[in-house]
């Protein structure tokens, strides 16, 4: 039996960390993720867990500390947002290339400037190619569930990659909502004990990590990483199946909402998916066959799943909560469109940018997107350019 609770997204993540009881938590505070290490350090101070907390002087150092401790053989975590994630940029690549399964909750916040503390995905989208597995949550429940699964996905022997689990700053991190948490023992059993096969502090098996890699070897090592990411696909499925058996909550790479007969669909990530579901219910009530595809796992990118989910759709809107400055929308727009092209789907697609820097995304905002899609179907004219939603002109 799950425990019914009401928690903010940050509290939910902190409780997940408490239940996972990692060996090391190294963190530097940054809004809106600060509460996570704050709660965890309280749990430690109260003797509820025996995690070693490392206060550091920057996020470059928090990730470096995680890399050091994970390499030494300890299950390590940190949490960050926005500029903090950006300051880790160099170390993100080191963690992934050293094949260290660090887990990191990211509380999404606009990456300056102008300076802003509210949600969008420009921070984690900037790190999407760093070699980390990326998962995104719609609400506190998913933020909690994703983190617990992330530990096992990253540590899977065929994967060995770090995982970031993202949720929207303030919108879910600071909103108190209903949630079902698992019993401590269940989480403990689920994640198990971390036993690295090779690690630096092994008593007898000495090893060195992070040697200089010449051109003669570098591509092979990068390809090994790609194989790990490929293997993550099965690990994500297997871990989700185990998690469903334990919790009753099912997860997949993507979530489809009212897609079976949808004429118009949007592809979306994060908290606005919930708002969009309400908008879709309204539209359905009015006779519009609307649906949505929510991407839960962005790395590895679920290209086939997205293409299949959209196969019967007339027009699709792809919703980016970050600019790409490609002059044609954000990263999701590009990748989802590529998925459709690669699978030979001739579906009209419109790219949107919305919700930057915490711009509130209302039910009406989503309806505006669908109005756009319906117009495209009516006129047959697909806008050559991407569209901004909620922009004053």
């Amino acid at each position: 039996m799950s425990i019914k609770e009401r928690l903010s997204g940050n509290e939910a993540v902190a409780i997940a960390i408490k239940q996972i009881n990692p060996d090391v938590m190294a963190a530097f505070p940054i809004t809106p993720s600060t509460e996570i290490p704050q709660h965890v350090s309280t749990f430690i101070a109260n003797g509820e867990i025996d995690t070693e907390f490392i206060p550091v002087e920057s996020e470059h150092s928090s990730m470096s500390a995680c890399i050091g401790s994970q390499a030494a053989g300890a299950r390590s975590m940190t949490a960050t947002s926005s500029c903090g994630l950006a300051l880790m940029f160099e170390m993100l690549y080191i963690a992934a290339s050293l094949r260290l399964p660090i887990t990191m909750p990211v509380v999404n916040r606009a990456l300056s400037g102008p300076i802003n503390i509210n949600a969008d995905h420009s921070d984690s989208m900037g790190a999407r190619d760093a070699g980390w597995i990326q998962m995104y949550a719609e609400n506190a429940q998913e933020a909690y569930d994703n983190l617990i699964q992330a530990v096992r996905i990253g540590e899977h022997k065929d994967v060995l990659l770090p995982v970031m689990t993202c949720q929207d700053g303030f919108i879910t991190s600071h909103a108190v909502e209903n949630i079902e948490i698992l019993e401590d023992e269940k989480v403990k059993d689920f994640v198990g004990e971390y036993k690295a096969e090779k690690f630096l502090l092994h008593k007898t098996d000495n090893m060195s990590m992070g040697p200089y890699d010449t051109s003669a070897y570098y591509m092979e090592h990068k390809y090994q990483q790609a194989v790990g990411m490929e293997n993550a696909r099965k690990a994500i499925e297997d871990v989700a199946a185990d998690f469903a058996a334990m919790s009753g909550r099912k997860y997949d790479y993507i979530e489809k909402y009212k897609m079976d007969d949808a004429d118009f669909a949007i592809v979306i990530i994060g908290s606005s998916a919930g708002t969009a579901k309400d908008a879709i219910d309204e539209l359905r009530h009015e006779g519009v066959k609307a649906g949505l595809v929510k991407i839960r796992v962005y790395r590895p990118f679920p290209e086939q799943e997205i293409a299949d989910a959209l196969s019967g759709v007339k027009v699709v809107g792809i919703m980016d909560k970050s600019e790409g400055y490609s002059n044609n929308g954000g990263p999701m727009g590009a990748e989802v469109k590529a998925a459709l092209y690669g699978n030979g789907r001739n579906i009209k697609a419109v790219k949107f940018v919305y919700g930057l820097g915490g711009r509130d995304v209302k039910i009406e905002s989503i309806r505006e997107v669908f109005d756009n899609l319906i117009e495209v179907e009516k006129t047959g004219n697909v806008p050559a350019h991407y569209q901004y939603i909620g922009l004053r002109r």
Binding site: N118, V176, N178, T275
Partner: protein, 194 residues
């Protein structure tokens, strides 16, 4: 109750609008409702106008936007009535509850466009009398429960007692005062008769 009740809180930084929005969500949760409580975040400072929100529902809540058409509005500081459009989007079938010691007619004149019910409660005075400090949160919570009928009043008081017993475990002497504040606010929240 209705399928969903949406409440918007207006306060000034430091007055506890966020805490109130979360407290109401908390007590509604104890009654088995689905809840959402959240403030609007920005560069907050003591005294700056801030907004917080509470959603209560009999069904799971998926929407993640601010509340634009609230059923109820609570104003924690009467000086916000006027400078802030506190009745924006407020349902005329709902009500506004203002923490004030002023004559309700003075405040009603400032929001004369609003056709719904206007309530006042002197939460500052009630909290001074019962708790001994100006903590308008607690009486305002009771006032909005009374006005909205969002939950059973007796069960509300009982749940709050449990919550206080937990919160004030190390100073049980303040529990009775807090409970008294709730009951007084329920009695002393006045409807302005136009």
């Amino acid at each position: 109750m209705n399928e969903r009740i949406e409440i918007r809180w207006h306060g000034r930084g430091g007055q506890g609008a966020k805490t109130a929005s979360l407290l109401l969500a908390d007590v509604a949760f104890s009654q088995g409702l689905y809840v959402q409580g959240f403030p609007e975040y920005g560069p907050e400072r003591m005294g700056a106008p801030i907004t917080a929100y509470t959603r209560l529902s009999s069904a799971p809540i998926r929407v993640h936007s601010n509340i634009y058409e609230p059923d109820y509005v609570v104003v924690m500081d009467e000086t916000l009535v006027g400078p802030v459009d506190v009745t924006a989007g407020l349902s005329k079938d709902g009500a506004i509850v203002i923490n004030s010691s002023k004559d309700p007619s003075e405040l009603a004149a400032l929001i004369s466009d609003y056709a719904g019910r206007v309530y006042t409660v002197d939460a500052a005075s009630i909290s001074m009398q019962t708790i001994g400090r100006n903590i308008p949160n607690t009486p305002l919570l009771a006032a909005v429960v009374k006005v909205s009928g969002a939950m059973d009043e007796t069960i509300f008081i009982e749940n709050m007692r449990h919550s206080f017993e937990h919160k004030f475990a190390d100073k049980p002497e303040v529990i009775e005062g807090n409970l008294k504040a709730l009951k007084m606010a329920m009695e002393e929240v006045h409807l302005y008769e136009r």
